[in-house]
Symmetry: C2
Subunit: 431 residues, 2 copies
């Protein structure tokens, strides 16, 4: 029985093969996202992975709609696996807009879905860090959100040598469009041409631009000029005050594909240009109003950062942790008459918050020790009976090979402290 | 635009209404599950939320199949939103059974789905803590897994007065069935009758039992006798050695609905009998072999614990945390000329791992302070310019009202330490 094409299994490390995805790396990335959001005062929310199809088809960008993973449910409803989080967020925020004081600073880590028939081998799901700031029209909000984006990547070890946020503005492009376009041309067609400029051959872009009556040279010249608009200058100044200027630059080559953006837009890219965008976002000041049928009118902006390209970049920059889960201790049970005492100690250590494993059934010493090494334990602990019939523990720190004998009540403390001096206890032959 | 019936939105606390689900409580529960699994040496995995329909219809229990949330995708595949995690786990473990040394101790926290047309108001999704132990046939494995179940609930503050694990055995019931049933009767019909015994009226149970030729009195007598089988006695002894005896009792009234269980089975219940089962599981020694078409033969057992009943129980026992996210500090910006310095300090504090928020735009002092209180901050921090033109910070601990003046470089340290003595700095009028 195989899993569906385009979906991933996430395995514990060490991974079974090169193509396997790591549940541990996923957790590492999610923890960095969540912790950065916490430091920034962003609060977690979530919505259903399945939403009414209308939530996407009626109001969103055309690019999303063509890739929807949708179907009719048993009750005859047209539904879709969520392709993006923003419509859900807008729905939720509008439903309780009077309850929460603005600005809202909210984040989520949803799994998102898309279905394209043509693309073999392409993933049909990914996880995405979504952060949004709702209820603030000032560019200070854009700066705060972009700072969160930057620090989320830095939390994973990436530096200004690794990535840059390219900052642009729909407002700047709209002014350009109004100045240059043929009467009757639609801005969205023009934005699509700009969005695909870096990926498509020049002839394809030229064809798209011809449809709105704008010469490619004028577009290229505008991008090369790179003059920040006043709102972009404000954003840059705020980021500069935080010391984050090296992570951002104005670049009108970015415009974002989705239809609903209204102001500043941005994308984070790998500096070496090896990967697709790491993250992207922008202002969508009209979306909440449209999705709430005019009932709630709140300016808003947000970004999404996917796990797939990020995982590739971390691997490329050798920032993928070598080792994930570690046990604090593995209990060796070499004398089965000590199993009940060992189980009691096991429980005590786990209740003290330590990660401890043990052999479920009787096994040879060398097999137990091999298992302990396999599981990546920091210490081994072995109970011993003294000639007087007392039971004590022999605690061994594997990396330093230092060993000590401890009363059972002190084992947790020893497991928590790194060994300093050479083994203070009478040495026994190394295991 | 409404969300689909049976699905939940998860909001940040404080919740907008009594029916809203809390993203913060969800995180609190997930963290307890994940941390307990870590202490027990269980490793995280995950699979796709969408699987081939066959994974469930061909091999699983009849109870699941009637509730599947399934459809045909754009590529003509029959697919289902996962109703349980065990078939996915069995598929994944069988796919790489040579890579991982046994026993595997794996866990996941999937969102699971079901679709019943009849039940109005019933949820169509929930989250479930799934833990499984693969590759160990000895009852020591059952004991380890049940101990994990118990400690997962204890990690949320629940005690032996709050819940009990009712331990039973398919083997015991199978022996009973073979002794009492009419020739040709099928065990699964009998197990269904036992599974529904506590929920159905006696006549319905009697009708089910008549079909297999077993008198209700014989069933009742067997349940009342409650003698542990040798394997259950082993499990009880191992749990006893850990000090967990008060959390478990033999109770043959439990049998579990799913078809694939083979040995010991168990369910955790609220002691007051107010709620449905908190968790349930058991051995399924044949399932991996069946799902891998005989290629991989591994004994296994596992349990699932849902978030919905658990959240209700925590609320009932007043174990739901009152307060969730807290800011370490809120920066008050009362002098706009100090905004750049405030932003620099903001960045420094966040980089030090502290959760800090601030007013995005200029606002009156009292409005800023109200916002700080709303967000539940521990401290406020305000920059001030000395007559000599130096900038220092006034750090106030709101609960104790103690206040001190600090150089900017020392603010992070002050935010980390609880105030001990009364404010050492020259006091200023309270904000």
């Amino acid at each position: 029985m195989e899993r569906l094409p385009g979906f991933r299994d996430f395995y514990p490390e060490p991974l079974p093969d090169r193509d396997a995805w790591s549940a541990d790396l996923r957790h590492h990335i999610f923890a960095a996202w969540r912790n950065t959001a916490r430091r920034y005062g962003f609060r977690e929310y979530d919505g259903p992975p399945l939403e009414p199809l209308d939530l996407y088809t009626v109001k969103s960008g055309a690019e999303i709609v063509g890739q929807l993973y949708h179907f009719t449910d048993k009750g005859g409803r047209d539904v879709a696996l969520r392709p993006e989080m923003t419509p859900t967020l807008a729905r939720m925020a509008a439903a309780h807009d009077r309850h929460y004081r603005k600005p809202l600073k909210w984040f989520a880590i949803p799994q998102l879905f898309r279905y394209e028939r043509q693309q073999k081998g392409r993933l049909r799901e990914h996880f995405q860090f979504n952060a949004d700031l709702i209820g603030e029209a000032d560019p200070a909000g854009d700066a705060e959100l972009i700072a969160l984006l930057i620090d989320s990547l830095r939390a994973l070890g990436l530096t200004a040598d690794d990535f840059v946020v390219r900052l642009s503005s729909r407002n700047a492009w709209q002014a350009f469009f109004e100045q240059h376009a043929r009467p009757g041309a639609t801005p969205y067609d023009f934005y699509q041409a700009i969005d695909k400029l870096e990926r498509d051959p020049p002839e394809a872009t030229q064809a798209r631009l011809d449809a709105v009556g704008i010469p490619l040279d004028a577009v290229r010249h505008f991008i090369d000029s790179g003059q920040p608009t006043p709102e972009l200058a404000r954003i840059l100044a705020e980021l500069g005050a935080r010391g984050l200027a090296p992570f951002v630059r104005v670049d009108y080559g970015v415009i974002r594909g989705l239809a609903y953006y209204t102001g500043p837009v941005f994308e984070a890219f790998d500096r070496h240009g090896k990967f697709r965008a790491l993250a992207g976002g922008g202002r969508y000041d009209d979306l909440i109003k449209r999705l709430s049928n005019g009932r709630v009118d709140l300016p808003a902006l947000g970004f999404g950062m996917g796990d797939v390209v990020l995982a590739e970049l971390l691997k490329d920059r050798r920032l993928r942790p070598d080792r994930f889960a570690q046990l604090d201790a593995f209990l060796l049970i070499e004398d089965e008459s000590l199993r009940p005492d060992s189980l009691q100690l096991l429980q005590t250590l786990r209740e003290a918050g330590l990660a401890v494993d043990y052999p479920l059934v009787a096994a040879k010493s060398d097999k137990q020790f091999k298992r302990a090494l396999d599981l990546g334990t920091v210490h081994t602990v072995r109970l011993e009976r003294t000639p007087e019939g007392q039971v004590h523990a022999r605690v061994k720190h594997l990396a330093s090979r230092s060993e000590l004998v401890s009363p059972l009540a002190e084992v947790a403390r020893h497991l928590r402290s790194e060994p300093a001096a050479p083994a203070p206890a009478p040495a026994s032959p190394a295991a």
